[in-house]
Amino acid sequence: MKNVFKRAAKGAHVPHHKNTQNSATVDMPVPAKIVLPMQQHIGAAVVPVVKEGDQVFVGTVVGQSESPLSAPIHSSVSGTVTALGEVKLPNGTKVAAVEITSDGKQTLEPAIAPPEVTDYDSFIAAVRASGLVGLGGAGFPTSMKLKLKDLSMVDTLIVNAAECEPYLTADNREIMENSDAILAGIHAVQKWMGIKNVIIGIERNKPEAMDKLFDLIKGETGVKVKPLPAVYPQGAEKVLIEVCTGREVPRRGLPLSVGCIVMNVSSIAFLADYLRTGVPLLSRRLTVDGGCITKPQNVRALIGTPIDDVLAFCGGTKGDLGEVITGGPMMGVLIEDTSFPILKQNNGVLALPREEVLLPDVQPCIHCGRCIDCCPVGLSPCVIAAGVDANDPQEVDRLQADTCMECGCCTYVCPAKRPVTETMRRAKVLQKKAKKGARGR
């Protein structure tokens, strides 16, 4: 099993802060206005297919693209398109965006009907039409993930219910409130893709959800629940595959190359809901928490709702607010402007106090090796950092910096408070540049 001589891969003992574990999801009211950026997934941005002044309904397609690596974007309210403009995504790129003013009626698009799925191809077409992207945070278009040249490539479906980030309990609530859909989703993927083995990975810090899953799979053949140690980051794709199946995804490889497909538990449940009703991805369950939230809870918000509205719904912020982020505190994305909308891949909104997130003074590396011990994929961050300081792309490449998934463990444990994860990002850029240069010559 785990070979400690190969790599320590201890992970980081981050605090759990699962305060909202037992808070049932509350539906947020329909916002007056939503903004839909035309990129809410990894891949090509979609193009708006509506004009200013158009009447739209709940579920009307507003953005679409020919690119297979994309997912259509639907309106989550009924009303009028009031503006076509541009917004800046948290990563700094600018994309087109559609602003829709709600009429408050939430009229469903008349064309919506349960999709007709008769074979694998129509299943993939339905997944694509649903607008589903990986709901765990990365936002990889699900239709692309499930679209295989050869179905015999894959024998195992891993359902990711680890939810290893601190604070977040949205997936946990999905299991507690929507477990039938999870099973239906698993059945659908099994049926249309011919997958026999299903493993549901869940961290041990969610005992109630774990019991629920064990009850759920009673009588199922080929479906297993795998309890995982509550050490961050069990939910990282490659780590989860290794823990669940013992298989190692090769460097630069996809889970497919070891016969696995990994899907987030909320994605699976949504898939089943879509196949049943035909209503595309319109809303997200969000954990709203952090030291500065007055009323921490799980809410269901329409995609495109301004983060300001979500914060206000939870009683606003209190204390000395330092940061607002979407996602968890380890890999979450900083939100500079809180009028930014909720995206498909968001699973939480955290408001953290200034004292918790202030950048500490950086001290020299003392070579304690903690970053090496904790790195879940077995990299040697402080050695790579030396390569980055020396501006040495060969060294960085030899140390396989591109395996880094930026989980943040190394920065979290560093006693010298060095920004190790940031240095890993620079290492990857250095590596890419060197590759491009080599190809050019």
């Binding site: 320590a8 190692e248 995804v249 460097r251 206000a312 912020t317 463990c409 979290y412 408070k417």
Partner: protein, 310 residues
Amino acid sequence: MKQSVLLAKDSPHIRDNSSTQRIMLDVIIALCPAAVASAIIFGPRALLVIGVTIFASVAFEYLYCYFMKKENPVGDLSAAVTGILLAFNLPATIPLWIAILGSFVAIVIVKQLFGGLGRNFANPAIVARIVLAVSFAGRMTAYAYPSFEGGVDALASATPLVATQHADLPLLQLFLGAHGGVLGETCAATLLLGGIYLVIRRVITPTIPLAYLGTVAVISLLAGQEPLVQLLSGGLMLGAIFMATDYATSPYTLAGKLVYGLGLGIITCGIRFWATSAEGVSYAILLMNLLVPYINRLTLQKPLGGGKKK
């Protein structure tokens, strides 16, 4: 709800509460029992020597950084740790100017000239001990005998390592440290206590000390020596627990740590049993320190999925 004063930074957004200073403080706490023991065994002059080396080390660090216009690093407590470890490698009778000279070698020459904290090529206290031992051989081996045992502060040239070949010291006496030697090395009991504290606080892993001590025990058995006597005498405990585990000069990975401990044990026994010097711990640590970059390179951990290339 306008938030104009939000911070802007990259993930991860939270850190644990560890710090360099806290690690160094833990090492100092772990060294305290041995310091108390040295005062009991060798008398109050032991504390004077410890105080002088700490003060001198911190002062040299401060002055060097002041004149080189570097940021003042005294707050990280690493100079204080070096000071204590250096004092632990000196006999209680040492003239104070030699102790101060040792601090200069450790802090200025070995540590700061090579780039300061984390960049030293070898353990500063070990190099200082070796420099002093070579320069002032007589005074460095003028071991004080335990102050409560009749002949107070008697000078003698025999360390237990030499002495045990003739007259056997009882093991319990060795364990409690009631015999001649340098300040910090004699009382194995308090050194072990400190080591256990460091392991519990997760400052060190027990890999290096166990590999080192284990190798010495095995080779002693093979060479016909009494393993327990070898383990408890000389600077072995001090070296294995506190000097060989110095972060900057020890390997990162489990495999590297085992190789390092093995090498330390082999060199120590080689010097003790078959060379002219009675003690080999400091030379073993220095030699293995120099090999650490190579050990690190050869024992790098393997990234997930890195076995196959492309």
